[in-house]
Symmetry: C2
Subunit: 266 residues, 2 copies
């Protein structure tokens, strides 16, 4: 990595550290209950989301004021470097309010054409996954090590994840199920954590719909750096969100893409 790339990666780590510190005091607190939420007149997950995005923006204001920002909570801030930080302070708010440690802090750094750097952080478990500039790494309870996707070459051997069984619209759900019928195992419900598992070589496919840019840029950076492929359901770029197919390698990606494309043809 050159000096700029090192600076950008260090900035991402500092942002994730700041976001995690801002969020954890809200995770699994009693005041997350609906009653307290109404009584106190605020929504703790929204509070945590905002505090985390503010913490990340403070790091950027100090270290990278020349870059643009697109955040889930506070929208767009212009820049002059040609690069944009794309931030989802808590991806998986339903996981968050259910106490499940499968939500994550998502950080992407991109040009309009491609994701340069991605990070997925789960601060409760203490796990972080990042990729970009020729590097794909994770650290967690077992220590730090390289990421790498699986070599699974046929759908019949693949493990597939999505978050909600309905996936999206009726058409999107049917397309998902057409892939699910071909795979070895389909699992549900773990939000952005599933993308980290693709990058870690644990699972093979994630298929989702209705995503925003900030839901997917962090995962794209990590998965692509680890050897995987992330596109929309027509094989085009996914960095602006929408319907997303993430696969562990080009061969498996092509097999799943054929089905999704055929099932959603206009």
């Amino acid at each position: 990595m050159d000096a700029l790339q090192t600076e950008l990666l260090e900035t991402a780590h500092e942002m994730a550290d700041a976001a995690g510190a801002a969020i954890l005091p809200f995770f699994r607190q009693a005041n997350l209950s609906e009653d307290n939420k109404l009584a106190r007149g605020y929504d703790p997950v929204t509070e945590a989301d905002r505090a985390a995005e503010q913490a990340m923006r403070a790091v950027l204001a100090r270290r990278r004021p020349q870059d643009a920002i697109l955040g889930e909570e506070f929208g767009s801030t212009e820049g002059e470097s040609g690069m944009t930080w794309v931030l989802d302070p808590i991806d998986g708010t339903r996981a968050f309010v259910s106490g499940t440690p499968t939500w994550g802090v998502l950080i992407g750094l991109s040009t309009p054409e491609q994701v340069l750097l991605g990070m997925v952080d789960q601060p409760y478990i203490g796990e972080r996954f990042w990729g970009g500039f020729g590097l794909a790494q994770m650290r967690g309870p077992h220590g730090q090590g390289p990421l790498g996707t699986r070599a699974t070459s046929d759908l019949s051997q693949a493990v597939l994840f999505t978050t909600f069984p309905e996936v999206g619209s009726k058409e999107e759900g049917a397309a998902f199920r057409a892939v699910a019928e071909k795979v070895k195992l389909t699992r549900y419900g773990i939000d952005c954590y599933a993308y980290a598992l693709v990058a870690s070589g644990q699972v093979d496919l994630v298929i989702e719909a209705g995503l925003n840019a900030y839901d997917i840029q962090g995962p794209i950076g990590v998965i692509e750096a680890a050897g995987g492929v992330v596109t929309d359901w027509q094989g085009g770029p996914a960095l602006n969100g929408g319907r997303v197919l993430a696969a562990c390698n080009p061969q498996l990606h092509a097999q799943a893409l054929d089905i999704l494309t055929a099932m959603t043809r206009m």
Copy 2:
């Protein structure tokens, strides 16, 4: 707690420590891939399962030889104390092989009538939940503290979990969906971890079918000690498995039970 209860709880902690140490070397290892599994002629999750149950049985042989054992991997061992340790070394093997840290080591201690002590341990995250003898506690990345279920009093405010969207048979799936239609949020896919979240006051209901005694005795001990209710779908004891309804309190339990009973009446 009296001296015997203290000894039993310490034994359970030692068993969970031993099981976690036996399992973690197998979790997320490259040789979990299907190819390696075939090439090496063994199934790592089964290896981990067996190693963990053997480790727990070794603790029992030393500390509690007078107690019976029912384990998922090695079946029944007779005892003379009237108490049985009911062990699932890895509950959630599909989570395990997918790299998702929602599998758990389940330990129950029971008489034929009731669960005396339950433990749910997730060694990768470093989280342990236990209940019995008037105590309900957890420890994890945030430290140690008491468990307590939620006061949610109406289904319309409840968060419901199950592992597989299909739940079980066609009739069982329909009964589940009849409850799911009434709740605020339904989530899927996190195995035994969902029971720990009921005990932790994070979610309200778990509904599953087709369970074995060793799948549910650990959770029963933890949830009951934390203020929750666990029965089968007719309101009877669930400690032998089958169809299970776990609820955060008696009021919510009754509302869900009414629906499940009506939907599965012979």
